[in-house]
């Protein structure tokens, strides 16, 4: 299996970030992807929509979709929006990737 694509998430995942994030994800569709959440300072509902739809799309593809290094603000934001499962604390790679 090839190395997963890594996308560094923007610091402000507000409504203006949703479109670019969507495009960026569509471009790497079909490959395992790792989203680096270290820089994220805020998360809005529309970027969450994109992330959730991508999670499903990657699951449908049977590809790994992983959010790593979530900043505390990002992890809090996900939890606040009821989507804590996207970046479970202390959770490593998705168990579904075969080597």
């Amino acid at each position: 299996m090839t190395e997963p694509k890594t996308i560094a998430l923007a610091d402000s995942l507000d409504m203006t970030a949703a479109g670019p994030l969507h495009r960026e994800l569509l471009e790497v569709r079909g490959q395992a992807v790792t989203l680096d959440g270290a820089a994220v300072r805020r998360l809005g509902g529309q970027c969450l929509q994109v992330l959730l739809a991508a999670e499903t799309a990657w699951a449908a593809d049977g590809q790994a979709f992983e959010i790593v290094n979530p900043s505390p603000e990002f992890a809090d934001g996900l939890a606040l929006l009821g989507a804590g499962h996207l970046a479970p604390p202390g959770f490593a790679a998705a168990p579904f990737v075969q080597d």
Partner: protein, 721 residues
């Protein structure tokens, strides 16, 4: 100077500028200037003076400026004709305003009689043109309607259920769902549930549209008005339902709440569209018995039983109906505390078993009072264990509700119309198990659509409806949770499966396999029909991974397929990860436990089937194939020389990646459920040992980590080979 005093000086300076602007504007209009910008400037001058006066609470100035502004607004909007008389009055009003400003600057109090008279003139002018607003600022328009205190005797709600779905406009106006949820969560103890029902597949998603909805269960000392205030700015830009839970509604659900109509409905027999229990009717028989109350597992609040007030929120019934009791009767507990309790109860179970064994050993009669008391204790202990396990149990709904999205996504990708049917969403299982169900389920559902269902054309040819059905069901069965994923597709193509297995060297071409055995080949590592079948699942993830995940949870997975009718995958999982079904074996006088889920069969090795590979490495032939024979005693360092294969018993196991091996042990003691005690928490991690348990006789037994044992032995095998 104090900053506020400085601003006050600024204000009076600015007033002079505005007054000059006002006067010159009115004079220009008197000279025939009808430029809208002129009258706008005049209006703004008075408006601005009023605004500043408001900041410093200069009441007389505010009152007059307001009346003046109203008249100017009438003129600006064309409702008040610009005549010479009107302009004269306006100019006089400007003079009065200037006097009032100066008086305020000097700190004068009280009303100017000239101002009152002129205010009346202005009011008469605007009153004649438009309606008289009474000259008072109607600040109340921004406030919420005063609360109807409808049911003063009713108990206050213990919380609220807030359902909130933003529309596109909400985001477009730079409001943000996350911030609203943050505000809401500050009002009390909030549990946020995300609803992704409307989220389309990624490819069809408009990144700036609004698809998500949230349901927040808010417990705490708050009220509906406070909750609605959080959403003040987004009123109309989102769907919002606020439903009280627990007590009776203290706030009317809607401004047009009609008490008499409601009372009529109540006396009408009530149960038509609302749970009878909500009306406090005795729930002995009739509609009350069939009312759609909560799941049996949910404890009704005693509070709700004799609640005097009816539930008025008919439109929110579906939402409030059963969650109300669920949330109202819930407390939140730190998971660590529950884990500690589960741990302690595990100890209690062990202790009780030890005690029972001692009593037996002491030779007390079965009918003795001690033995009988012990039986009761055992019964109670088991009940406590079950009850404690139930605390950590959660409905599988949280995982199930993520699947419709997946189905839509895969359906879109494959071009197969699919309907997902879910059953038993309320089935409960340990939280730790639920968290690890999502991945295997995702995989199986994707498989069911991609491999299970035929193309619409093929379905039509087979006389089936074009839309395929994938069913996801959960149920409890003999102390385990069973989850089924079935499709109404073509069933497993056994010819194809078998030839692939032969091709990949998984079975020999001569192997005689039953249908069931062939079906089970798809679980073998290295078996994947996907790359030939379609693009979706052909990326190196096979059903073997699913099986591994299920096994890691102490579960089993089986398949039942009927050609032309479809396939059903059945997963059977323990309700908790705190106990384990184990095979108890002896090795060199030690008692060990092997997880039963990993064991395929047990066998008595025959001398002719065992072949040495040099060193201590051996293989055993099972139905024409060779698997490594691993001496558990050697692997764990209990003995220096391997046990003769024929004097022991072999456990044929399947470890990670579907690798098979035979574990040689001295003897099998039997099967039993054991309480898992973590070794890492109490001691340290030991290679080859996953955890420990304490048996009824008080002996500590190690639980084997089968994957590690197999992996270590494989390495040795390679060295030997």
């Amino acid at each position: 100077m104090d900053p506020l005093a400085a601003i006050r000086e600024t204000f009076f300076q600015e007033c002079e500028e505005q007054l000059a602007e006002l006067e010159s504007g009115l004079l220009a209009m008197e000279g025939g200037d009808r430029d809208p910008e002129t009258i706008n400037a005049v209006f703004r001058a008075v408006h601005s003076i009023k605004g500043g006066a408001g900041a410093f609470s200069l009441e007389a100035l505010i009152r007059f400026a307001h009346v003046f502004e109203t008249a100017l607004d009438e003129m600006r909007s064309g409702r008040l004709a610009v005549t010479a008389d009107v302009l004269k009055t306006m100019l006089r009003a400007a003079d009065v305003l200037a006097d009032l400003v100066r008086a305020a600057h000097d700190g004068a109090q009280g009303d100017d009689p000239r101002a009152a008279a002129l205010a009346d003139e202005l009011k008469a002018m605007s009153g004649a043109a438009g309606e008289d607003d009474g000259g008072e600022e109607d600040w109340g328009d921004f406030e919420f309607k005063p609360q109807l205190v409808a049911f003063e005797a009713a108990p206050a709600p213990t919380g609220f259920l807030v359902r909130f779905k933003p529309r596109h406009d909400l985001y477009a106006k730079a409001n943000e769902a996350a911030l609203l949820l943050r505000e809401l969560s500050r009002l009390g103890d909030a549990q946020v549930e995300l609803d992704t029902e409307d989220l389309p597949p990624l490819g069809e998603l408009d990144p700036e549209a609004a698809y998500l909805a949230w349901t927040v269960t808010l417990n705490g000392d708050t009220d509906e008005t406070t909750i609605r205030e959080v959403f003040e700015f987004v009123d109309g830009d989102c769907e919002l339902e606020v439903t009280p839970i627990g007590g009776a509604p203290a706030d009317p659900p809607a401004p047009d709440f009609d008490l008499s109509a409601l009372l009529a409905r109540v006396s009408d027999g009530a149960a038509d569209d609302a749970p009878a229990g909500d009306f406090g009717a005795p729930a002995a028989d009739g509609p009350a018995a069939e009312a759609p109350l909560a799941d049996a597992s949910v404890v009704e609040l005693p509070l709700a039983a004799n609640r005097p007030a009816p539930e008025p929120a008919a439109e929110t019934q579906g939402l409030g109906g059963h969650r109300k009791s669920e949330a109202g009767a819930t407390i939140r507990v730190d998971l660590e505390r529950v884990d500690r309790l589960i741990d302690l109860v595990g100890e209690l179970v062990i202790n009780q078993a030890v005690l029972a064994q001692r009593v037996m050993e002491a030779g007390l009669a079965r009918a003795s009072a001690v033995a009988m008391g012990l039986d009761e204790l055992e019964q109670l202990t088991r009940e406590i264990q079950d009850s404690v396990m139930a605390i950590r149990a959660q409905p599988v709904k949280s995982v199930f509700q993520r699947m419709p999205r997946l189905v839509r996504e895969v359906a879109a990708m494959t071009g197969k119309p699919v309907r997902l049917v879910t059953e038993g969403e309320g089935t409960e299982v340990d939280k730790t198990v639920i968290e690890r169900l999502a991945d295997p389920l995702t995989h199986m559902i994707r498989n069911a659509i991609d491999h299970g269902l035929e193309s619409p054309e093929k379905r039509a040819a087979a006389g089936k409806p074009a839309e395929g059905v994938v069913r996801l069901a959960a149920m409890h069965r003999s102390g385990r949770i069973v989850i089924e994923v079935s499709d109404d597709g073509g069933g497993i193509n056994r010819e194809r499966v078998k030839s692939i297995a032969v091709e990949r060297g998984l079975i020999s071409a001569e192997a005689q396999l039953s249908d069931e055995e062939i079906d089970n080949l798809i679980f073998m590592a290295g078996f994947s029909t996907a790359s030939e079948v379609s693009d979706i699942s052909g990326r190196g993830v096979g059903m073997d991974v699913v099986r591994r995940s299920i096994q890691a949870l102490g579960g089993r997975i089986t398949i039942n397929s009927k050609p032309g009718k479809g396939s059903t995958f059945t997963m059977s999982l323990p309700l908790t990860l705190a106990v384990l079904d184990g095979m108890v074996v002896s090795v060199e006088g030690q008692t060990l436990v092997a997880p039963i889920t990993a064991i395929i069969e047990t066998l008595q090795p025959k001398a002719e089937d065992v072949h040495s590979l040099g060193g201590h490495a051996r293989v055993i032939s099972i139905r024409g194939g060779f698997v490594p024979l691993i001496d558990v005693g050697m692997a764990l360092g209990y003995r220096p020389e391997p046990l003769s294969a024929t004097s022991g018993v072999a456990l044929l196991i399947e470890g990670e990646g579907g690798a098979r091996a035979a574990l040689l042990v001295d003897a099998i003691q039997g099967q039993r459920q054991v309480v898992i005690k973590s070794l890492e928490a109490n001691y340290r991690q030991v290679p080859g040992v996953a955890a420990a348990t304490i048996l009824g006789d008080g002996r500590v037994a190690l639980i084997l980590d089968i994957d590690t044992i197999v992996a270590v032995s494989r390495g040795e095998l390679r060295k030997a080979g």
